[in-house]
Structure formats: C-alpha cells, structure tokens
C-alpha cells in the first residue's frame, strides 16, 4: 500500500472544498451547465441516462480495506447499494445526486480516495497489473512508477487540456495483464543487455471507433528519464494532435497519420532538448516513493499445507483452486481472484455488503489489501495457502467464488444502454444470457480460456475489439443489432479481432456465440489449443460458415 503524504492529503481535501463551492454555485444558478460541465468532468461526474454517474479512481488497482469499506459506504449512503468496477481500475456509482457529491467526495477523501482526472481531456488514472508486487517473475513492482506518473500528471498545468483523454498503463511481467498495447502510452518494465531496469515505451494504442495496437517508439528508456520521455510524447501530442474533430483527436490518429518514425523523431527532438531537466529522476526521489509503499510481513509457510491437501478432496473447492488461485512470489502464499461474474449477474458489479465483506476478508487473509483488475474482477493478492479452504467457504457464501476466471463467462461488458447516454444497445442482458448458456462449469472448463468482450457502442468501453470474441452493439432502424468479431486479444500478443459477417439481432446473439464455440470445439487441433489459436490457425471462414450457413 502507498501512504499519502501531507501534500497529497492537502491536495485532495482542497479539491473537495473547491468542488463543493462549484456545486453550490451551479445549483444557485451562478454557473451555467456549459461552465460547470468541464469542472464536474474533471471530478469524475458524468450525466447518464437516468442520473449522474460518479467515477472514482483506484490508482494502480490497489485498495486498502478501509478504502473499500468507504466505497461500500458511498454506495449505501448516496447511491443504490452497489458499485460497478470498470475496465480502467475505477469504480462507478450510477445513481448519485449532484447535491450529494461533495459529501461523497469528502467521505472518500478521508481515506485518500479521489475522483480527479477520471474524466476530461487529461491524463487519466494510471493503470497497471492487478498482480503488481506479487506476480512471480515480475521485474519490479510497477506501482512505484505508476505512482510517480500519478503525482507528475495530477493537475499538470500544461496537460490539463489535451486534444483528448490520455491513458497510460504499465506492466512489469512477461504476461501482460494491463493491456498496455491498447493504451495511449504503454510501458513495459524490463532489463536491457547490461542488466539495467528501464522501460520499453509503446505509443498510439487505443480502441474506440478506430482501433490501433500500440507501436514501440523506444525500446529502452532508463528509469531516470521516464518522466521527461513521457512529457516529450505529451508535448508532441499537445502540439500536433487534432482539436477540430473529436473522432480524430486521440494520439493514435496522430501516430497513424504521421507514421511512427516521424512521430518518434519529433519526440526525440523534444526529448533531447529537455531530458536533462528538472524531470530527471534522482534515485533518492524514486526510493522515497518506494519507501512509502508498505509490503506484507510474510511468514515462512508451506506451499502444500495439510489444510489444502485435505480440502482438495472436495471437487467444488478443487475446481475453484485450479481456476481462481494463482502462484505468488512467496512460498506458501497465493493470489486469489474474486470473480464478479456470477451466473446471471451484471459483470463487474459488487454490492455494498459484498464490498464490506471483502474488506473484512482482506483484513483476515490478505494483509488488508485488495486489487482491482481491468477484467472487472477483484483479487486478494497475498493469501496464505493454508487459509485458502476457509477463504473459499466464505467467498462462496458471498457469491464471489464462481470458478470462471478467464473462462467463457468471465465477460467484460460496458454498462450499455441500461445506463449510458452514449450507448446504442444494451450490453448487460447479453452478458447475463451468455453466463446462463455457459453456466455448466464442466463445459466452461472444456472450452478453456476464452474472453468475450461486449460494448454497447463504437466507443468500445467493453474492449470488444480485443475480445477473443467481441460483441459490438449497433442500432439499425431503431432495433438492437450486434456485430461479432473473433480472434482479438489484449495481452502481449494484442491484435484487433476480425468481423465475421453481418450484424445479428439481440435475440440471436447467444445462439451465434454458442455456434462459434461449438465450431471451435470441433475444429481445435488438440484440447489445449485455445480459441484464439484456432482462429489464428484457420482464420474466420470456418466460423463464418457455421454462423451464417443457416441464417
């Protein structure tokens, strides 16, 4: 966990007071909506179909148990008793009143949580691997650098009015859980040939109506130079990014139109002029940030305790253990993913009672720490393996032990037309129906790793482009239709999926997905060939034929 210093606490509290005054002036008619809109957006407040939506940042996906309890409190006191975890390590409350927002912000500020820059044309919440600091094989904890970038980019005067929003993600593992290749800047921490730790920098990734996979702009940037290099990218983008057309304003369009070589040359020129400036990071600065992260006091424990061996005789526990529990850096400990994808439930939602209970379980079993992943699940990062049976029993009672992590029902979905003012179609009912169709755990295991991502419009908040199966809602003559893509992926081999054919109506989506999955099971070369590997090997034609032959 990172402990905020006095400067951080003052900043957050002053921001609450400032926003309280802005809300008061808006409600008194002293600010027009045009004047107020940018101010509320910079505090994470959107207007959705039925109400305001309040988006709160969870920096680098790490929460303490008091912070999660405070989110439960906000859900219960100011909203309708639940929250929605998003694909960018935020939580959203869907029913909050403008008049209540300053109080909600003040309550969150008491535990160091805020909503700054969760919207607006600025650098958004810097995200990272939800297993940061505990993943085996990790080069180093990427949250140190995420925190440095958070401090650097918060209320940065030069970059508060960029051409468009700007998203940065960091990973330090070989397997990319942070989807860095679909971010404006993706940072991969690695070691160079000399054994020095630094960053591979990718730029121009993104989804939305024009998806691009990020390109490597610099294979290695030393840690001391990372802020100046990121600033150079931001400066080039701020200068040349389009402001005349919202659909062409993201950095991905600039990189695409200039070409990566010319864009990189512009960045290099800027960087050479500024790299040895005040942004050069002394090792003391980095170490100061590092020292403000506290780590658990691990015990020496066995990886195969008797409790675990005995409990594994229960097939339900054994299934969950195999699916939702991952190895940890430390012997005797494990990383536990808590599925927020129950059969028939809205993906990523958690009730206030569930949040409180998870906070209690984190205190009891995981050093008071909770993680949030971009796949819209939670994780307890450091659970002693001897405690896994006891933890599972309690998670099961809470509905948080569905053994479907990374399987066909672990669906990413945006809020869709049930909530969102931008959406063309609903997303959640499609996800719910699919979880019912594939509710059989044996079938889900037989299918293996398969990510279905659903977006209710072309803005792609549900990351449909990079779903193994992507579902995109479009409106046709007032009716909900859905385009299906296959073969996308968001990991270190990120690729945009391929459209298989004409859009299908709402009522047929689940049937189509079943057809695609049945085709895969018949076509795969061997049981461990993943869905995306089969698509890569055979292309989309066999799937297209299966779906459209009888439609």
């Amino acid at each position: 966990m990172y402990a905020y210093d006095e400067i951080d606490r003052t900043l957050i509290n002053e921001r609450v007071s400032e926003f309280r005054d802005q809300v008061k002036r808006r409600l008194a008619g002293e600010l027009t909506e045009d004047e107020f809109k940018m101010l509320r957006l910079m505090n994470g407040v959107y207007l959705q179909l039925h109400a305001y939506m309040f988006r709160v940042a969870i920096p680098y996906g790490t929460l303490s148990s008091p912070q999660l309890r405070k989110m439960a409190h906000v859900a219960r006191r100011y909203d309708r008793g639940y929250g929605h975890f998003t694909t960018r390590q935020n939580i959203q409350f869907n029913w909050i009143k403008l008049a209540d927002l300053p109080d909600a912000l003040e309550d969150l500020a008491s535990v160091g949580i805020h909503a700054m820059q969760t919207s607006g044309n600025c650098t958004r919440n810097v995200t990272t691997d939800q297993w940061a600091g505990v993943a085996p094989g990790e080069v180093e904890d990427p949250r140190i650098w995420a925190e440095l970038l958070r401090q650097y980019s918060t209320m940065h005067p030069e970059f508060s009015f960029l051409p468009r929003k700007f998203k940065i993600a960091i990973t330090a593992s070989a397997y990319d859980r942070a989807a860095i290749k679909v971010h404006d800047i993706g940072l991969r921490i690695h070691k160079n040939e000399a054994g020095e730790t630094g960053f591979e920098v990718l730029v121009g990734g993104g989804l939305g109506r024009t998806p691009f996979i990020g390109r490597v702009i610099k294979p290695f940037v030393h840690g001391r130079d990372i802020l100046s290099y990121v600033e150079s990218i931001l400066r080039v983008y701020n200068q040349y990014g389009r402001r005349d057309n919202i659909y062409k304003a993201r950095i991905k369009i600039l990189v695409h139109e200039l070409g990566i070589e010319k864009f990189a040359a512009e960045v290099e020129d800027e960087w050479l002029a500024t790299r040895d400036s005040a942004l050069t990071l002394d090792s003391e600065v980095v170490e100061d940030i590092r020292s403000r992260f506290s780590y658990p006091h691990y015990q020496k424990l066995s990886d195969t305790p008797d409790e675990l061996t005995a409990a594994s005789a229960d097939p339900h526990f054994a299934r969950w253990l195999k699916n939702s529990v991952a190895p940890h850096q430390r012997t005797g400990y494990a990383i536990v993913t808590l599925s927020l994808k129950p059969v028939g439930g809205p993906p990523g939602d958690a009730t206030a009672d569930q949040m409180d209970a998870v906070a209690d379980l984190a205190d009891k079993y995981s050093f008071g720490e909770i993680r949030v992943g971009h796949e819209q699940n939670l994780a307890l990062p450091s659970v002693a393996r001897r405690d896994l049976p006891a933890l599972w029993r309690q998670l099961d009672k809470l509905g948080l032990a569905t053994p479907n992590v990374n399987l066909v029902t672990d669906i990413i979905a945006c809020p869709g037309l049930d909530y969102c003012s931008l959406a063309n179609t609903r997303s959640i009912p499609i996800a719910q129906e699919l979880t019912r169709r594939f509710a059989n755990n044996d079938l889900a295991e037989l299918i293996g790793r398969l990510h279905i991502n659903i977006s209710g419009c072309i803005n792609a908040c549900g990351h449909h482009h990079v779903g193994h199966i992507g579902i995109l809602g479009v409106e046709k003559n007032g009716e909900e239709f859905f385009q299906i893509t296959i073969g996308g992926r968001a990991d270190e081999h990120a690729v945009v999926g391929t459209l298989i054919g004409p859009a299908v109506p709402f009522a047929e989506v689940a049937d189509v997905i079943e057809d695609i999955v049945e085709a895969y099971l018949a076509l795969r070369a061997r049981p461990d060939e993943l869905f995306v590997q089969t698509v890569e090997r055979l292309g989309v034609e066999p799937f297209k034929e299966r779906v459209y032959a009888t439609r």
Partner: protein, 104 residues
C-alpha cells in the same frame, strides 16, 4: 458547436422535450405550463417542427433547473396514453431492463 436552437429541427410524429433535473439528474419532461414534470403523461406534446422549436427554446432557457433538453419521439395511443418512442427513451422512463444488484 452549434446551439440546439440553431439546428434544423425535423420531427416525424408526436414529440416531447426531455432533459435531466440538475440537482439529482432525474429524467424530466417539459410540461405545458412552463415547468418540468417527471410524469410523461403530463408532458407537453408537439406535432410540428415550429412547436417543437418553441418548446425546446423555452426549455433551454431554464439552465438552472434542467440539463441538456432535447426533442424525443413519443407514441400516443388510441386511448390517449403516451409511450416513449424508442428503446432509449423507454429505458429513461422505466429504468434499467435488468435487476439491480441487491444485498442478500
């Protein structure tokens, strides 16, 4: 950006002006008495582009009470009841089409 009042208004049937209430975001409809109502049945219904433009102008002038007024289609049934004219407006009126998460 073009003001909504400067945009060409084209309606194809009965319509209302709808917005969100400023202090809590609730869905509201412009009524026939220069005010707002949460009840679609009480909304002012317009059938011509000129009437729609006038109702929208009146609604937009109330920047304190409402956010983002716009013209939305409705269907008027034979018995005089009014229904939203599309799925988006149905959801805005009746709420989400799913069960909200609830604590056990």
């Amino acid at each position: 950006m073009t003001s909504p009042l400067q945009q060409k208004i084209k309606i194809t049937g009965p319509s209302v002006v709808t917005a969100n209430r400023t202090w809590d975001g609730v869905v509201i409809y412009r009524d026939a008495h220069n005010g707002w109502t949460t009840d679609l049945a009480q909304a002012a219904i317009v059938r011509t582009a000129d009437d729609a433009r006038a109702l929208l102008a009146e609604s937009t002038a109330d920047d304190v009470g409402a956010i983002g007024p716009y013209i939305a289609p409705v269907a008027v049934n034979d018995n005089g009841t009014v229904e939203p004219g599309n799925l988006r407006e149905q959801i805005r009126r009746k709420g989400v089409t799913i069960d909200l998460p609830a604590s056990a």
